[in-house]
């Protein structure tokens, strides 16, 4: 059943609006959508909705923006005079392009939708736990170095080796074990006599990961800030891919700042990008932003390293849900806690208590030497939640 020009025009316009709202519409989405609608026998609202969703959406998070705009599309197709809602109209929630600077309008944003009452901002803000010396929200200070940053290369190399040694399945050339398949294949050229005995090894791939760094005052007072920056910079250089996020009461993607030669340059880039050491922590909000706005950086082949004391100022009821998602989605979730370096430390902070069941390993972290100890422990016993 052919489509008339009016419907075609509206489909093209709908696909464009969806893209504006952050939906990952394929390049030929409008064409696919037209074919899909044309293939329907009955073009009632729900069938058209299902057909367009199948052709234009490619991620579960696209659903909200799609549903929000579909009503307008449907009205317009039926000849009504309806305008698409603007993406940033009257909204306090995260919208496309809201984040500053380098992170603006990446295609993986879900388009927010808070302006249409999706209730996404309803986390309880109840206070809980320890760390009462720190306020929930305090003013920020520019990121800077106190002295020459320590050399974290060795510690990071040991940590990287430990993480990379966790088992994979892919084979590559090497001398670990005989490779019967290649032996048979090669023997064909010698009339079936296995003249060569090739071997193979498990492939060692470079590590990919995500660093989530709590830059609230309670964390920064407990660790060596220069070492933290040096470690992050060294990790960024050593790993195949490392996305770095700072969080306090919100989450900021600062990966680009570490894409430089020296730690000093990284600090300069952070200062230029208005990244700040801050005051309060909203761990739940930060993890929720990671899930809704940057979900694609967390995957099965990624190691997620959280640097945080687990002191959550925003209540922990939603925290477990976010941590459960992170733990399901990531290949390995390691938690570096500066407070855990204290021999009398126990995970009493509500946020840390909530995090324990979801973290694969918890390690103290004050400076680079702690990273070496974490590497040693990882190599010896694998990921563990027992802080040594």
């Amino acid at each position: 059943m052919a489509l008339d020009d009016h419907v075609r025009r509206e489909l093209v316009s709908f696909a464009a609006r969806l893209r504006d709202a952050g939906v990952a519409v394929p390049g030929d989405g409008a064409q696919s959508a037209a074919r899909a609608v044309a293939a329907l026998d009955t073009r009632d609202r729900e069938r058209v909705r299902a057909a367009l969703r199948a052709a234009l959406c490619t991620r579960p998070s696209d659903g909200d923006a799609f549903d929000r705009l579909f009503d307008t599309f449907w009205a317009r197709v039926r000849g009504e005079n309806a305008d698409y809602p603007t993406p940033d109209a009257d909204d306090d929630g995260p919208m496309v392009g809201r984040r500053g600077d380098d992170a603006a309008a990446t295609p993986d944003e879900d388009g927010g939708g808070g302006g249409f009452g999706d209730g996404s901002g309803g986390e309880d803000a109840g206070r809980g736990g320890r760390g009462d010396a720190y306020t929930a929200e305090a003013g920020g200070r520019p990121v800077s170095l106190d002295a020459t940053p320590p050399d974290a290369t060795e510690a990071v190399a040991a940590f990287t080796d430990a993480v990379a040694a966790l088992p994979g399945r892919r084979w590559t050339m090497g001398d670990e074990t005989p490779d019967p398949r290649r032996a048979l294949r090669k023997s064909v050229r010698y009339g079936g006599v296995p003249m060569e005995r090739p071997t193979r090894s498990r492939a060692e791939t470079r590590v990919k990961g995500v660093a989530l760094v709590d830059v609230s005052e309670s964390v920064l007072d407990a660790l060596d800030r220069d070492a933290l920056l040096a470690v992050l910079h060294a990790l960024h250089r050593a790993w195949s891919r490392l996305s770095v996020f700072f969080f306090d009461i919100s989450l900021r993607d600062v990966t680009d700042a570490f894409d430089v030669h020296t730690t000093e340059d990284a600090v300069a880039a952070l200062a230029e990008g208005d990244a700040e050491w801050s005051g309060g922590t909203r761990l739940t909000n930060a993890l929720r932003s990671l899930r809704t706005e940057h979900a694609n950086v967390v995957a099965r082949d990624r190691v997620v390293v959280v640097v945080s004391d687990g002191i959550e100022r925003g209540g922990v009821s939603g925290l477990e849900r976010e941590l459960a998602w992170l733990s399901r989605r990531a290949g390995l979730l390691l938690w570096l806690n500066p407070l855990a370096a204290d021999p009398n430390w126990s995970p009493n902070a509500p946020g840390m208590r909530a995090a324990l069941p979801y973290a694969d390993g918890v390690y103290p972290f004050v400076d680079a030497s702690d990273l070496e100890r974490a590497a040693e422990s990882l190599t010896r016993v694998g990921p563990t939640r027992r802080v040594e």
Binding site: A24, S32, E46, R59, W171, S187, R300, A324
Partner: protein, 292 residues
């Protein structure tokens, strides 16, 4: 109805009905479009949502072969396309065979088998958990799905007039490439509502008491609302219902839930969290009358 591109919505609904697959309107419409347009169907959703089952139902419902390619990290072309039977080649080479690169030495792997399927209707090719495979394999898949042909240097090109019905499933453990997604119709299988889950239990475990089924669905819905390492999918609900049925439990109590909890929670940490009190809370929140 040998040509599946001419299938009607009523035909498809009756297939789902016959195979006892409870499908919402969006699933019916999207699957129908995949069949009519000849486009692969990319199905995403939580584990246990019924993604793999959809492909199985299509194959058995349309009485055709299901060819399954289970993806995993390191999956290579020879495990997906074809491989030579080296042992046979070796033996025959030693006994003076003219050529050991003939059809008889070829081992079909799932992609090639789906292309060479010679039944009345096209095969259903299930590429399961495609997100587990590497990006390199995704590129290979893309090539095959674009032209529905495979080139075997020693034998020539294998192409098909009737491409298979392709269903790809993904648990979203990593983002798939835009190129692959562009070639597919997309279906996100949401966990079913409580009502729909009850309907599924009624069909799949008919021997289970309706009140028990309703209680189990309520408890599962309540569990899904809690932060679990591995939230239960429909498959777990079914398994749990079967456990109740096999054990002959006719009421949902803290004790009966406790003894069968491992059927619905598949992570040791999750199971450990639900001691007697926690289970009592869950049952109360789900509105289950335990008589306490």
């Amino acid at each position: 109805m040998d040509d599946l591109s001419e299938v009607s919505e009523a035909d498809l609904r009756s297939v789902f009905e016959r195979e006892q697959y409870v499908a919402g309107d969006d699933v019916v419409t999207t699957t129908l479009l995949a069949l009519r347009l000849g486009k692969p169907l990319l199905v995403e959703g939580e584990p246990g949502a019924g993604k793999t089952e959809l492909a199985k139902v299509l194959a058995s419902g349309f009485d055709t072969e299901l060819v399954r390619l289970q993806c995993y990290e390191g999956l290579a072309a020879e495990e997906a396309l074809y491989e030579w039977n080296y042992t046979k080649q070796l033996l025959d080479a030693q006994t003076g065979a003219d050529s050991v690169f003939e059809e008889e030495y070829l081992l079909e792997r799932p992609l090639l088998r789906a292309l060479r399927h010679d039944g009345d209707r096209p095969a259903v090719l299930l590429v399961d958990e495609v997100d587990r495979a590497d990006e390199a394999f995704e590129a290979l898949l893309l090539e095959v799905l674009s032209d529905f042909q495979v080139s075997i240097p020693e034998l020539g090109t294998v192409r098909t007039e009737t491409p298979p019905v392709v269903v790809l499933t993904s648990n979203r453990t990593r983002e798939l490439s835009d190129a692959l997604k562009r070639r597919c119709l997309y279906l996100n299988l949401e966990p079913p509502s409580m009502e729909r889950e009850r309907e599924i239990l009624e069909r799949k475990v008919p021997e289970l008491d309706a009140a028990v089924a309703a209680d189990l669905c309520g408890v599962v819905a309540e569990l899904r609302d809690r932060p679990l390492r591995k939230p239960p999918g429909v498959a777990e609900t079914l398994e749990w219902a079967e456990a109740f049925s096999v054990l002959g439990r006719d009421t949902v109590t803290v004790a009966s839930v406790r003894e069968t909890l491992s059927c619905v929670l598949k992570d040791a940490d999750d199971v450990e969290r639900f001691d007697g009190d926690a289970l009592r809370d869950v049952l109360a929140a789900a509105g289950v009358d335990t008589g306490a």
